[in-house]
């Protein structure tokens, strides 16, 4: 319930809501535009384009309304927090790219250790707990659940 929330964390959304409204408006117009390409040959009373069109109209109208009457936003994070968030996304994207070529164990270990660091722990906490978490995940999926994870190249684990 927003009423019970901490009101000091809220800021007027004049900028944020207007940008969001503009993006969603573009999305609605694009969806409307593209939906005209979706036709089926047979005599269906409602073709594949109709429902997306039906949805893009209220989407566009509401987006326009949001630009004209912006509401409130949560306070955006500081620079340091933004860097940590970007760090988490980068590490996870790296993991997604590395897990198939390198195998689960090395890529997960790398990801987990960096993640634990990002969430505020020290190296001497991150290394042992990272190893613990990686090996528990490996045991859980590989043995308890029987879902094989990608192996390291040239090895079967």
């Amino acid at each position: 319930m927003s009423e019970a929330g901490d009101l000091t964390d809220r800021v007027p959304g004049t900028v944020g809501d207007r940008i969001a409204g503009a993006v969603l408006l573009v999305l609605a117009v694009a969806a409307w535009w593209l939906s005209h390409d979706y036709t089926s040959g047979f005599g269906q009373s409602v073709g594949p384009g109709a429902f997306p069109r039906l949805v893009s109209v209220p989407l566009g109208v509401l987006a326009l309304y949001l630009m004209l009457r912006p509401g409130f936003n949560q306070r955006w994070p500081r620079r340091a927090a933004q860097l940590r968030q970007l760090g988490m996304l980068a590490v996870l994207a790296l993991y997604a790219g590395l897990v198939e070529p390198l195998g689960f164990l090395p890529s997960a270990l790398l990801a987990v250790v960096v993640l634990i660091r990002l969430f505020g722990a020290r190296w001497r906490q991150a290394l042992p707990f990272g190893a613990l978490l990686t090996s528990s995940l490996y045991l859980l999926f590989e043995f308890a659940l029987g879902m094989p994870l990608p192996d390291m190249p040239g090895l079967d684990w």
Binding site: M1, L24, A31, F51, R69, V99
Partner: protein
């Protein structure tokens, strides 16, 4: 008495060793997840879905596990509210108002015991209500055609914003965004690829689980990263929970009223547990007014929201099972689980798979007893979990989500898509655009479109079929009434602030 026969059949299913074990695991895990600050039923159940698929469970067993997690989270959410002043989830938010002051006065154990009983009564009442009312609703819904179903979907979307409050335009915007995202992929009727831009990974549509885990779990971690340094929590003396049972008896009227109110709030489409606890607390505070010590640790202020939100959680299962329309984020996930196991909730489910429905109901009764046992004598154990540092818990949450989703599809594309949904969920939360309607839109869009097209092909392209039957007009009127009622209620609450 037909119901009793069905229930007996259900208990036979729920008491099978595997299902009993799953209920126990689910209750314990759910309490644990619910107790962790920031992780609530939506995140908890979302996180369990990939694991459930990996286990290879039957639909009945999977549903029993996830609903036990759901109930468990609802119980567990109170623990961090009371001891840390951090709600474990949105429905537990109202519990902080009187729960934390009670804990500061050294009555933390008592508050936990009291809320354990209140949760039990609320959930039990809702489960009884589910047993009695779901078949009635089914008898009514069996006459629904595609046009009525379309109206029902409109009802679900119209009420989701109006009842839960917040910015109405933003809720509808979120629902439209979700509905549009739901059209991505090959159209099942005409085989036309929509909004795929030549990416064959999108031909099957956006995987619901990927979107869900991204929107809830990944975005939760991004929120958590905003302030990792504030880790100086006071250590609280918990004490025994048993005195709380006696306190609960003194609060029996509050608990009864709140349970009833929460149940009604839960049954309404688009409402859910947060509304249940909000209504119960607000009205109890109004009702007792000066006779209470609300805001400073009044036991009734702790009992009311907990009875209310647990009753609402049970009530919200009714529209999900009997109509196939989820009222909340968590029931949307349960619905998604059933759909992806080729089980279609709705009136026919009660005829076609009674063992699933009644097995689930029986499992809820059993789970409730298990949860009472877990949450009164053993609550200290769960309270200890709160001392686990965030730097270990949050990476664990992310990695379980990542590895779980990857092992379902073996596609790195899904992982990138999940990250994108994580960013989307985070930005939406910062903009105060609710994410639950996005999920509902994504999930229900396909069904809504399908029913619309079926209705239109019956009528031969005549749009008036949408509002031509008495039932569908009634549903539209009900939607308008709920919307107006919600707006009125919020106007009333805002004008005379009772909270905070």
């Amino acid at each position: 008495m037909e119901i009793l026969a069905y229930l007996a059949q259900g208990f036979a299913v729920a008491l099978e060793p595997q299902n009993l074990f799953l209920a126990l695991i689910g209750c314990a895990l759910g309490t644990l997840i619910g107790a962790l600050p920031g992780l609530g039923p939506v995140n908890g159940v979302a996180l369990m879905i990939p694991l459930t698929f990996n286990f290879g469970l039957s639909a009945t067993a999977a549903l029993i596990l996830l609903v036990s997690v759901y109930y468990g989270c609802m119980y567990g959410g109170r623990i961090s509210s009371i001891l840390l002043n951090i709600p474990g989830d949105e429905p537990a938010m109202m519990t902080t108002l009187d729960g934390y002051p009670m804990a500061l006065k050294g009555r933390g154990g008592e508050a936990l015991g009291l809320t354990g009983v209140a949760s039990f009564v609320g959930a039990l009442l809702a489960t009884i209500g589910l047993t009695l009312f779901a078949p009635v609703l089914v008898g009514f819904a069996i006459r629904f055609g595609p046009a009525e179903y379309f109206a029902l979907f409109v009802l679900a979307f119209a009420t989701i914003g109006g009842v839960t409050g917040g910015n109405l335009a933003k809720s509808f915007l979120a629902a439209c965004l979700g509905l549009l995202l739901g059209t991505v992929g090959i159209d099942s009727v005409s085989s036309v690829a929509r909004y795929t831009f030549g990416w064959y990974e999108l031909y099957d549509g956006i995987d619901f689980i990927v979107a869900l885990v991204g929107l809830f779990a990944i975005s939760e971690c991004l929120v958590f990263l905003e302030n990792t340094r504030q880790d100086n929590r006071p250590t609280m003396v918990v004490g025994s929970a048993l005195p709380g049972v006696r306190t609960a008896w003194r609060c029996r009227n509050t608990i009864a009223r709140s349970s009833l109110l929460g149940f009604v709030a839960g049954v309404l489409p688009g409402a859910g547990a947060a509304l249940g606890s909000f209504l119960s607390y607000t009205l109890e505070r109004r009702w007792l007014g000066r006779r209470g010590d609300f805001g400073n640790g009044d036991p009734r202020g702790v009992a009311a929201p907990e009875a209310g939100n647990n009753a609402a959680a049970g009530g919200s299962l009714i529209p999900m099972l009997s109509l196939g329309i989820p009222g909340s984020g968590t029931t949307a996930i349960l619905l998604a689980l059933l759909l992806s196991m080729n089980v279609t909730p709705g009136p026919l489910l009660f005829d076609n798979q009674p063992e699933l429905v009644w097995g689930l109901v029986a499992a809820l009764f059993i789970g409730n007893l298990l949860l009472l046992a877990l949450n009164i004598p053993l609550v200290g154990l769960f309270a200890r979990v709160l001392r686990a540092p965030g730097w270990f818990l949050m990476p664990m949450v992310v990695m379980v989500a990542f590895v779980g989703v990857y092992s379902l599809s073996n596609s790195a594309f899904d992982l990138y898509l999940m990250l994108a949904f994580g960013v989307l969920g985070y930005v939406l939360r910062k903009l105060e655009i609710p994410t639950v309607p996005v999920v509902l839109g994504l999930l229900l869009g396909g069904q809504m479109e399908y029913n619309l097209r079926r209705a239109m092909s019956i009528s031969g392209g005549e749009w008036s079929i949408i509002w031509s039957s008495g039932i569908s007009v009634g549903i539209y009127l009900f939607a308008i009434a709920l919307l107006a009622g919600g707006l009125l209620f919020h106007w009333f609450v805002k004008r005379r602030p009772a909270v905070g």
